[in-house]
């Protein structure tokens, strides 16, 4: 099942399926790109940022940016 990164639940895991063009080059340098496994580490309350883990490194992403990343969630 596909969903936006911003909609993933705490500790949910998946594989990055699509990243919007505007964000792609920028976020790739931080190791986040299509085809990578991703895990939701924390979600801050009141529309705060998420922290995700890719290849064992953690990145904090604002919720609006997280909307631009589509993840295929593992069941």
């Amino acid at each position: 099942m596909d969903k936006k990164l911003s909609e993933m639940r705490y500790e949910e895991e998946g594989r990055i399926k699509k990243i919007e063009e505007s964000l792609r080059a920028q976020i790739a340098g931080m190791g986040i790109r299509e085809g990578k496994d991703i895990k939701m580490m924390t979600k801050q309350p009141i529309k705060g940022p998420v922290v995700v883990s890719v290849d064992r490194s953690n990145t904090s992403i604002g919720l609006g940016l997280a909307d631009k990343i589509i993840v295929e969630v593992k069941r």
């Binding site: 080059a25 920028q26 790739a28 340098g29 931080m30 190791g31 290849d55 064992r56 490194s57």
Partner: protein
């Protein structure tokens, strides 16, 4: 060679490495904010003193803030420099991305696989000799915080040479003898 540039992504231990090489006078922290003002020092190489510059950490050569812009400008301003690419050995892939970008620009490069101990502790094995073979530039495992591997790094700086990206494309993955199309 007139200058040595130390480049790498944020939080790879670049400033600690710089302090070890240049002797002193750099502020190291987990945040790029305090290293925007770059630091210079000198390194004795073959009895000659060579300037070494600690370039602000950048994720890629595609800058997203002023600190990264500074890094890219500094690289472009030093066409004759040798670049020491510092990679976090536990995050090789993203480090390689930046390294390839620098190689593509035609700079002579030497790679420091830093935080080797962290990678080992995390059960990550890296075949450094094979990496060296593929890239065609010196690859030296280091642990900057303990000073390990730094002598070899300094000795091998003079082996750094510009490499054509086609050569790397040809030497990787089963494609070694074939040509890239």
């Amino acid at each position: 060679m007139n200058k040595i540039l130390l480049m790498g992504q944020p939080n790879v231990g670049k400033s600690v490495l710089f302090n070890r090489l240049a002797g002193a006078r750099a502020i190291e922290s987990n945040y790029p904010g305090t290293t925007v003002d770059y630091t210079k020092g000198h390194l004795m190489l073959d009895g000659k003193s060579v300037e070494i510059i600690d370039v602000p950490g950048t994720f890629s050569l595609d800058p997203k803030d002023r600190a990264e812009e500074v890094a890219v400008k500094m690289l472009e301003g030093e066409k004759d420099a040798v670049v020491v690419c510092v990679i976090d050995a536990s995050k090789v892939e993203r480090g390689l991305y930046l390294t390839l970008e620098v190689i593509e620009k035609g700079y002579p490069v030497i790679v420091a696989l830093n935080m080797w101990d962290v990678a080992k502790g995390g059960n990550i094995k890296i075949n450094a000799p094979r990496l060296e073979q593929i890239l065609g530039v010196p690859v030296v495992p280091t642990v900057a915080t303990r000073g390990e591997g730094l002598r070899e790094l300094v000795v091998r700086i003079r082996e750094a040479e510009p490499v054509e990206i086609e050569e790397i494309l040809n030497s990787v993955g089963g494609n070694r003898s074939g040509t890239y199309s």
